[in-house]
Amino acid sequence: MDVELRIKRFDPERDERPHWEEYRVTVDAGDRVLDALHQVRWYQDGSLAFRRSCAHGVCGSDAMVINGANRLACVLLVHDVGTRITVEPLRGLPVLKDLVVDMDAFFAQYRSVLPWLHNETDPGDSERLQSPEQRARFDDTTKCILCAACTTSCPVYWANDTYVGPAAIVNAHRFIFDSRDEAGAERLHILDETSGVWKCRTAFNCTDACPRGIKVTEAIQDVKRAILRPGHDPHP
């Protein structure tokens, strides 16, 4: 089938401002939007820049705005979007070229929540124990692939990029509610700052945007509730 792709292009070496270009490509209905973008880069316009790697929704490279919504181009099939496809870079992060955005601020926000397991107790040669129920408590937020679809769908983030954003909170949640972690209170303190969870206005854009189906807004609410508990105790 023939598909019309409308792509927002911007090359700072050549362009003063972004502009739209249209391409007509022939794809199968079951092809991914990513396949259509490849058709353009490989056979029509080699200068089209977009990131991609795994092509099946686990590496998080190809988040972009497709027909108005944040999606991974490799998880969205052509027959689900129709024959007119509009593609733009993620909003809220600086555009470096075409569909490639600057991820530095995003990863800095990720690092700001101390995203690693803190545990000072020496476990010796044996594994730490964790019950299936304790493990289930934070299962949902372990699925994050850091694609930035959630953070760049958030209207609060668009208006105020000091907000740590949904992805960073998801990654904080993953440790705050891990029974093995000892830095939950410290992370809750970080997220209690003005740049933290209280900026969230529960628009649910992040939950809609997540390609991994993480209940992002619910995770943010979990964190808010934990902050309100005495002593910032995540494991009451």
Partner: protein, 583 residues
């Protein structure tokens, strides 16, 4: 183009599981740069699904010695047995360490790391399948990648993200004299960066993109093996490539062997559980090389499904829905997304997919690169993970052993490299070393050629899948070889239409295609020479294993004219005497 200069004690090329595990080991011991053409969390370790085997014996009686036996037998006795023993013995600590790093493994009711079955892993030397694979649902690789990245963030590791390494410098141009540095292309600017270093560890992953139907990411193009080969490092056992039985039909996206570990069954068009005929004891959980051959035999004999009778089925319909939701959520979602069917009620069309390179950059058990059959070490040069060949996988890797390989040999390589650079100054790079790559790039950007990168690549992939995959013959391999010769000729006049510097992915893909052509050629030449069938290398015209002549590893060297010269080295034996592989 601007040239930037950096000086480090050690450089790690690639930020998947092996590279990140090595970086954890060097952190705090020496100044290390981790250079990756992707953001680390985009690496293909994250696509691994089913698990990581270690004889924890949390669920069933087990021992690392049984694991070693399975690994050697699974590799069709081409495995270097002392290396396999190290891997399987250290697996137990490696899994516990990942748990201490925070990896969220699935748990038993007692709170221990849970374990499940996987192909080729057995109790007591083949008696029955054993529960040995530690896992986190069907996203174990994702959890390993995230956990190792988290630990690198905690240690303040210096990352150079979206830098593509294109060349390596040795003292006096001789790998025997020591590493001098690497040259990388910064994707965001088009600038070149020269990293002077006393040691470099390559962890660039696989090169499944030489095939059309592959589980591998677009970015798995053999850059590390390719660029080292051009500088005089041989490649070992390149003829051994694994085809995973359960790729999504036509797309090649992986559906984990854990699907069969959880009870999934392979069926032909008539609904028959055909693996009962090929592996009566372990059936659907036979090693991957055997299952893929059985599948294509079914198709050849007319028992395939679909209008062209060219695929088979994975059947999960008898599994409890909750088991699929809890243990196999991601692959169930892949089936829904890409095939539009429901795995709880529908049979899943599958075909073998190019998955894993058993061969690669030859190393010893400390991940030091070895340069010849005599075991001469390249001082300061290391490799780990799929790009390397230790060899722990021999002629066919067992499921889960790749995740084990990256953490065990990533750790060993990082430790060896940190020790090597102590008290050593980085040797100065040969003056103007980067001009070779600079002129290659300038030449491509100014090219007046007319050949299309995409066309050459897709012809290479189609020909490799048709003639150099599960079944091979002298004739089919000669056909690929002739095709590659023609494609190489066309590659000389390849066109790069984008003249820009920033994020010039057309340029990156052109450079990657050069590596794909190189590694494909070494595979084909080594496969043509090996007139026997062993593990993942099956020759219709030489269908039997030939231990008298072929219990040896191939080494493919680059000839001065660009062709391939083969040499061989013996397999390092051990307690397990080669016998016929039955399951």
């Amino acid at each position: 183009m601007e040239i930037h200069r950096h000086s480090f004690d050690a450089v790690i090329v690639g930020a998947g599981g092996a590279g990140l595990r090595a970086a954890i080991e060097t952190a705090g011991k020496c100044r290390t740069a981790v250079i990756s053409k992707l953001y680390p969390t985009r690496s293909h370790t994250g696509a691994a699904q089913g698990g990581m085997c270690a004889a924890l014996a949390n669920v069933e009686e087990d021992s690392w010695e049984w694991h070693t036996f399975d690994t050697v037998k699974g590799g069709d006795y081409l495995v270097d047995q002392p290396a396999a023993e190290i891997m399987c013995r250290e697996a137990v600590d490696a899994v516990r360490e990942l748990e201490h790093f925070g990896l969220p493994f699935n748990r038993t009711p007692e709170g221990k790391i849970d374990q499940r079955r996987f192909g080729g892993h057995t109790r007591n030397h083949g008696e029955a399948p054993v529960k040995r694979a530690c896992y986190a649902a069907d996203r174990t690789g994702h959890m390993i990648l995230q956990t190792l990245y988290q630990q690198c963030v905690a240690r303040g590791v210096a990352f150079f993200d979206e830098f593509q390494v294109l060349d390596v410098a040795f003292v006096d141009g001789d790998p025997r004299r020591g590493v001098a540095g690497v040259v990388a292309h910064e994707l965001s600017t088009g600038d070149l960066h020269v990293f002077e270093c006393a040691a470099a560890l390559f962890a660039t992953g696989g090169f499944g993109r030489i095939f059309k139907v592959s589980s591998n990411a677009h970015t798995l193009t053999g850059d590390g093996p390719g660029l080292l080969w051009r500088r005089g490092v041989p490649l070992e056992d390149m003829e051994f490539f694994q085809f995973h039985p359960t790729g999504i039909n036509k797309l090649g996206i992986l559906l984990s062997e854990a699907a069969r570990g959880e009870g999934g069954i392979l069926r032909n068009e008539a609904g028959e559980r055909f693996m009962e005929r090929y592996a009566p004891t372990v059936k659907d959980l036979a090693p991957r090389d055997m299952v893929s051959r059985a599948m294509l035999t079914e198709i050849r004999q007319g028992r395939g499904a679909g209008p062209d009778k060219d695929y088979l089925y994975l059947d999960l319909t008898h599994l409890p829905a909750a088991q699929i939701d809890e243990k196999l959520p991601d692959i169930a979602e892949f089936v829904r997304t890409y095939q539009g069917i429901e795995p709880k009620t529908d049979l899943i069309p599958i075909q073998p997919t190019a998955h894993y390179a058993m061969g690669g950059i030859p190393t010893n058990v400390d991940a030091e690169v070895v340069l010849d059959a005599a075991g001469t070490v390249a001082p300061g040069l290391y490799a780990a993970g799929e790009c390397a060949c230790v060899s722990v996988h021999g002629a066919n890797r067992l499921g889960t052993n790749s995740l084990l390989d990256i953490v065990v040999f990533g750790r060993r390589g990082g430790a060896a490299m940190a020790a090597y650079v102590q008290g050593r100054q980085p040797p100065s790079m040969p003056a103007g070393f980067e001009t070779a790559i600079a002129s290659t790039i300038t030449g491509l950007l100014g090219s007046t050629g007319t050949e299309s990168v995409a066309a050459i690549r897709s012809e290479l992939q189609a020909e490799m899948t048709l003639n150099a995959s599960v079944f091979r013959t002298d004739e089919s391999l000669r056909s690929v070889s002739a095709t590659i010769d023609g494609l190489r000729e066309r590659y000389r006049s390849v066109a790069v239409t984008d003249q820009g510097r920033r994020f010039n992915y057309e340029l990156s893909e052109t450079l990657e295609l050069g590596y794909l052509l190189d590694v494909a050629e070494t595979l084909v030449v080594a496969a043509l020479a090996r007139t026997e069938s062993r593990g993942g290398h099956f020759r219709d015209d030489h269908p039997l294993r030939d231990d008298a002549n072929w219990m040896r590893h191939s080494l493919a060297f680059r000839r001065p004219d660009g062709g391939v010269r083969l040499d061989y080295k013996p397999v390092v034996g051990g307690p397990y005497v080669p016998m016929e592989r039955k399951y």
